[in-house]
Subunit: 314 residues, 2 copies
């Protein structure tokens, strides 16, 4: 906020031409080290700051990636965003973040704004029913998270593996009566895929499935609990930590401290409050890393459309 120094000022100050300064700025190797040193010194002393706007306009790249997430206060998404930020910032990019609020319309509006801003690429968090057509036209300049597509790069969570991990944990303990509380299958990923994973695990283990699905809220899970609790029930696998919270709460009321509960999300709060629980980490943070790395590689042409699946862990 001091002055408005331009590249020309620096050129004069260091007794070289505009272009030489520019070369220093762009790390052009064909500058005599001596000259470079001198110019860099002047830049440092003067506190000169090259204008990104001008660079963006000239060079075409604004060094910005757009991130569209559904909600800022989604714990899973903001963990992933932290991962993204870490990577892109490292690579000299900045992020402009927008909330889709689960609306395809808003998503597209945001996308339009981002294009207008000349962003280098975008990372979009998918949601159930989101329309990918607009994103697909971005081809290698986009990566989507948590949703299926062939036509564009994606980083998905291993919904099957997540549930399998929880199931196996219980199965290995010799438990045979494991119920499930999930969300409505109209939600492709958290709903349908995780439910199916549960069913398959049951089949493979030869145990009788017992499950209920509803909304993604504590209250919903709380209410559903009674329907999946039998006298013999030994554990309940939940599609998310939020759900697990509701289930554990209800179990506590029912005095069923014998029933173990698992959730998804790696919330430390869950096991803090309810001792008899654990949470599977779908790897949100790492997925953020992965998607950002993928995008950056694609932008530099080192990589084409790819599909990654984030491994879950306990």
């Amino acid at each position: 906020m001091t002055q408005k120094l331009t590249i020309l000022d620096i050129a004069k100050l260091s007794g070289v031409g505009k272009s030489t300064v520019s070369r220093v700025l762009t790390n052009d190797p064909k500058v005599k080290p001596e000259t470079r040193e001198k110019v860099e010194q002047v830049i440092r002393d003067s506190g000169y700051v090259p204008s990104k706007s001008a660079q963006a306009m000239r060079g075409g790249s604004a060094k910005v990636v757009g991130i569209i997430l559904s909600r800022l206060d989604s714990p899973s998404e903001n963990k992933a965003v932290s991962g993204i930020l870490e990577v892109i910032y490292q690579a000299g990019y900045d992020a402009v973040i927008m909330e889709s609020q689960f609306s395809t319309e808003k998503t597209n509006e945001h996308l339009a704004v981002l294009q207008k801003r000349n962003v280098d690429g975008v990372i979009v968090f998918g949601f159930s029913g989101c329309d990918l057509t607009a994103i697909e036209s971005l081809k290698h300049k986009a990566v989507v998270i948590a949703v299926d597509t062939d036509r564009i790069s994606s980083v998905g969570y291993d919904n099957h593996g997540i549930i399998e991990l929880a199931m196996n944990h219980f199965l290995h303990q010799g438990k045979r009566f494991v119920s499930y509380v999930g969300v409505d299958p109209s939600d492709k990923t958290t709903g349908l895929m995780r439910l199916n994973a549960y069913k398959e695990c049951c089949q493979q283990a030869g145990i009788e499935p017992c499950y209920q699905t509803g909304q993604l809220s504590h209250e919903s899970a709380y209410q559903l609990t009674d329907d999946v609790v039998q006298p013999e029930t030994q554990a309940i696998v939940c599609a998310s930590d939020t759900l697990a919270m509701g289930v554990a709460k209800r179990l506590q009321e029912l005095g069923r401290s014998d029933i173990q509960v698992s959730g998804v999300g790696a919330t430390d709060l869950l096991s803090f409050i309810f001792p008899n629980t654990f949470s599977i980490d779908p790897g949100y943070f790492k997925a953020g890393h992965a998607s950002a790395n993928l995008l950056i590689k694609q932008l530099s042409g080192q990589q084409t459309i790819t599909h990654l699946t984030q491994q879950a862990s306990l």
Copy 2:
């Protein structure tokens, strides 16, 4: 991502001069409605998108505000950011968001990057021990949240009122033994100010204070609980929901369901899990709104340095 249409193409296509197109773009009133209509039509048909980079460079304003928060996964901060986003997006600005991770150094780095990007203004979430000097030089182009300064606009939370609200709630119920669990007073706002508010409330009500402070974590509060629980204790006021969670958990174990607990943060999870609790809402979302509105007014010169205090509510 279709073509690279420029203002000149639009000019030719609609048979007018560059500047007329520019005037249409900038909503300059001195354009014949007829002409404007024609140009707008062409713009729409061609799918032309003006380059923000060029506009930013020329006009000086990139229509971007920078937001520096401490952590993306801080519930209070991301509620506030949602509020900010709503307002600035409405006003045609976009946001580039960065995490300071409670480091003054990172904050300053981010600030530098934002300046380089020619952002119109910044909103910074303060943290204990953050250094405001760099921000102060931004004068009317900055607003800080949750921290004290005279030299720059700020939106603060009513730390005193927050605790007072909780205390009064209990006092009105005739309770006389109200303890407090907070965070270390080395933290100015959440620590010191809230603790002082508690002490003052006690004094005014003529009751004996009983409190402990520690870290801002469930565990810390959990461990501190025993120290503030006496046989006669009727309620415990906590400096945050996180703390309240730890306290309520410990009380549950102690079988003290008679003790009411209050937190700060409006987390629905708290009262869902522990019935005998309630939470004060410091007004995070509204503070976001307020700070964004303030910044925008300042940027347009309609407002000078101002200090706002967000009212809390139950």
